[in-house]
């Protein structure tokens, strides 16, 4: 008995807004900054914001899969650092072609995440422990490999990735970010893998009893974390024109903020990929406006912390309401 089917039609707009509540604060921010920050509403500034958020947003795609599967990966930021160092070193010290260097960096990223994924699935370690450990290992290796000195003299041939424009208008990182999210949205909505991720994060036991290989799905999510860390790392190296051992510090948390702001539930099994870009844009706009009106960068961190807590409070509140309707 599918009662009154017509209803579902006129609920779509409502659904859209409840899925992407984040649009409201974004519009609010735009209005506020337009009023108080003089140079805010310009094309250049807008592209600037997008370029700034693009790296965290791309990394957040990895975090998105992790959170949907029911985990948080604390190592992603450190892997951005490590993969960047490997990428830079491969080109500068080992004189590998950029393409090959990227592949080497990717292998390192995937390997680290495979280790975390195996610890979490086959050895049943809490993800918190495995990824935190991996975070220290990754960051430590960054400093060990570089002796704490940045790697410079990056070949000019990779400059376009971080600093170039398409048709002199759209920065490459922004284009890559959009490409990534088109694919991620497609994968999570249209492929079996995407559905398996949601099912695994939503109820591991039920997914297992439905014949879903939950360990494999979990490992794949980790590997995607490795993939997006590497992509972020490459863009960052190109943008900074060097391999910085501290690169990507704190990105993993910013990625979590972007996910949570974008409506991805920390409880797992729920979330829409486009929301994550919006979440990242929100954070970017917030920082950008504060910079324009000269808010001290230390204070900006405080504000980010407040935003994170608010976002998670909102998420917890939503879950609590759902739980009470059981």
């Amino acid at each position: 008995m599918v009662q009154n089917k017509a209803r579902s039609g006129h609920l779509t707009l409502l659904h859209f807004f409840s899925d992407y509540v984040i649009i409201v604060p974004i519009l609010l921010l735009i209005v506020i900054w337009t009023i108080i920050a003089p140079n805010f509403l310009t094309y250049n500034n807008f592209m600037n914001v997008l370029r700034q958020v693009s790296m965290v947003a791309i990394l957040a795609a990895g975090q998105y899969f992790m959170i949907c599967t029911g985990y948080i990966d604390f190592a992603l930021g450190a892997l951005v650092g490590l993969c960047g160092i490997i990428f830079a070193k491969a080109m500068v010290d080992w004189s590998l072609a950029p393409g090959l260097a990227a592949v080497v960096a990717l292998m390192v990223g995937l390997l680290c995440e495979l280790v975390s994924g195996t610890l979490v699935t086959n050895f049943q370690l809490p993800a918190f422990v495995a990824t935190l450990g991996m975070m220290y290992i990754g960051r430590g290796l960054c400093y060990v490999i570089t002796n704490s000195y940045p790697i410079s003299k990056i070949p000019a041939s990779v400059a376009w990735i971080g600093r170039g424009y398409i048709a002199n208008a759209i920065p490459w990182p922004v284009a890559i970010m959009i490409g990534v999210y088109v694919i991620v949205t497609f994968v999570s909505k249209k492929t079996k893998f995407g559905r398996f991720v949601y099912a695994t994060g939503g109820n591991r036991e039920a997914a297992h009893l439905s014949g879903i290989n939950v360990n494999l799905i979990t490992k794949c999510s980790f590997l995607l974390g490795g993939l997006f860390s590497t992509l972020t790392a490459i863009i960052l190296v190109s943008r900074l024109n060097s391999g910085q051992p501290s690169a990507g510090t704190g990105y993993e948390f910013q990625a979590v903020i972007a996910c949570v702001m974008g409506g991805v539930s920390l409880a797992g099994g729920k979330g829409k990929a486009p929301g994550v870009i919006l979440g990242a844009i929100f954070v970017g706009l917030l920082t950008n406006g504060m910079t324009l009106i000269n808010v001290d960068s230390n204070w900006q961190q405080v504000v980010q912390g407040v935003v994170l807590i608010l976002a998670i409070t909102f998420d917890v509140y939503k879950q609590r309401r759902q739980a009470s309707t059981r």
């Binding site: 008995m1 599918v2 559905r195 949601y198 109820n203 039920a206 297992h208 009893l209 014949g211 879903i212």
Partner: protein, 500 residues
């Protein structure tokens, strides 16, 4: 306000006046008014989705009514949260078990108000009190055991103890019997009788008619959110009650379709693991094999082992005569076995997903076009299954979390019937399902057998097993203690084998 139930005002403990509850797209309760007499056992019945649980949740402060009010002990009360209700003396054993899995039985019973002595938890007193309560129910249960290690039935008992521990004057039990076996049920009835003799009022929700006649003094029928009628149980016919509930006559409660019993489809030999010992049985194409036994007798463990959800230390399986070995649940599914698990919330469903997504989950290839999920095919499949099982929902997009208990159970069935398996194993398939829908499900099970599938059904509902099965295996303490053919079925014989 008029009092049309004929109960003297002084004897009314609970007076519900015009309660309405609207959820997006559903009117779960529609102007419900009824009175409950102090010290009586008052049954509440209705089909799945009729609004029973919603009514209870409003009384206990889980939901707020859209409109209407209720009076408790002669006073109009405002219950905003469960604690308010408990303080008033109104406790609920909810349909869905809500215990803290990592705490002990005793801790769960006294959750939120541990027994204290000078500010510190008095473990001794708490354990003693908990043990006394469990013993009061005539049940063996270690109060120090962690709840996660208990069976569903045992968890249910903890829930009942918890509700009792509030010194409630009105205890509402939402389908407490759904998870209990005959023996445990007798205990429950004892408890209820004891409560009544102490003047405590009980509201009792159940889909099992025979229980209503056994325990209740009066009964209220809800249908589609409306209160249809309240009447004393004495002098009313079972069939009358059913037709009030369903709104039409349902013929045979246990329809048995003729099926041709063929070759052996699945043979299990000497299955052994931590929970079961040397279990052997076979089931034929077109045959419905029942598994009877007490909770904890190893029935669930047996089918889980067949399905490779649990591992085996010994034993072998044959499908259509060929030996098979499953390394994973996927393997079992690939060999066209389906297992509909007993615990819909933990094992059967992803509560946060839509009905549609739950139904298509087992074989996504069914709803794929060129390897990609097709929203249209998925919708078609789910609407087909929703109609086949008459799942009451405004749309296939609804989160299963928001469905009534019985309808959730139907989604689990739908999910597995959507894949075409040869061997269908059902673990307590009608738990929490109303009479009308039960008959539907028996018919569906019969149809599966007719199509030549082998069906294994575990149930703690004996009339159901006797009505539906061709053969019954009885389990006791992890082994099969006997089996019998349809012509030898009797409750006594089964119970005999189940308890030795």
């Amino acid at each position: 306000m008029e009092n049309n139930s004929g109960i003297p005002a002084a004897e009314v403990i609970l007076d519900i006046r015009g309660l309405t509850k609207v959820f997006p797209g559903v009117k779960a309760l529609d102007d419900v008014s009824l009175q409950v007499r102090r010290g009586s056992v008052h049954a509440l019945i209705g089909e799945n989705g009729a609004g029973k649980s919603t009514l209870i949740k409003i009384l206990s402060g889980v939901y707020q009514a859209t409109s209407g009010e209720f009076w408790f002990k002669g006073q109009k009360v405002h219950v905003e949260k469960p604690l308010d209700a408990q303080r008033l003396g109104l406790s609920v054993v909810h349909q869905e078990i809500k215990l803290v899995e990592t705490l002990s039985v005793a801790e769960n019973i006294f959750l939120g108000r541990p027994q204290c002595k000078s500010g510190l938890i008095n473990w001794g007193a708490m354990r003693r009190e908990a043990r006394r309560m469990v013993e009061d129910l005539n049940i063996k249960l270690d109060v120090d055991m962690e709840v996660s290690r208990l069976s569903i039935a045992q968890k249910q008992i903890v829930e009942i103890c918890k509700a009792l521990s509030f010194n409630a004057e009105l205890i509402i039990m939402d389908e407490p019997s759904a998870t209990l076996t005959e023996n445990e049920l007798e205990c429950l009835f004892d408890i209820i009788a004891r409560l009544r003799s102490k003047g405590i009022t009980v509201i009792y929700i159940s889909h099992r008619m025979e229980e209503i006649f056994k325990v209740a003094d009066s009964v209220s029928v809800l249908r589609d959110g409306k209160h249809i009628q309240t009447m004393p149980v004495a002098g009313i016919e079972r069939s009358q009650l059913i037709s009030l509930m369903v709104g039409r006559e349902i013929g045979n409660e246990y329809p048995k379709l003729p099926a041709r019993i063929g070759e052996v489809a699945l043979r299990a030999e000497h299955l052994t693991n931590r929970k079961i010992h040397d279990v052997s049985f076979e089931v034929r194409h077109g045959e419905i094999l029942g598994f009877a036994g007490l909770v904890g007798a190893g029935r669930t463990e047996t089918v889980r082992a067949v399905f490779a959800a649990d591992s085996l230390t010994e034993g072998s399986l044959y499908i259509n005569g060929t030996p098979v070995k499953f390394h994973s649940v996927r393997d079992a599914i690939r060999h066209r076995i389906a297992l509909i698990p007993e615990d819909r919330k933990e094992q059967g469903l992803v509560l946060g997903m839509s009905i549609k997504q739950n139904i298509s989950m087992v074989d996504l290839n069914n709803v794929c076009v060129n390897g990609l999920l097709s929203g249209r095919k998925e919708q078609q499949l789910s609407i087909e299954m929703i109609e086949k099982l008459s799942i009451a929902t405004p749309s296939e997009e609804k989160e299963v979390r928001q469905l009534s208990g019985g309808n959730q159970q139907k989604v689990v069935l739908a999910k597995w019937l959507a894949v075409d398996s040869d061997i269908v194993i059902l673990d307590e398939p009608t738990r929490g399902i109303d009479v009308g829908a039960k008959a539907e499900i028996y018919r569906l099970i019969g149809m599966l057998a007719q199509q030549g599938k082998a069906v294994i059904m575990i149930s703690s509902d004996m009339p159901e097993l006797i009505g539906v099965c061709d053969r019954i295996c009885v389990m006791r303490e992890g082994t099969i203690s006997g089996s019998m053919d349809r012509e030898h079925f009797s409750q006594e014989a089964i119970l005999d084998l189940a308890v030795s």
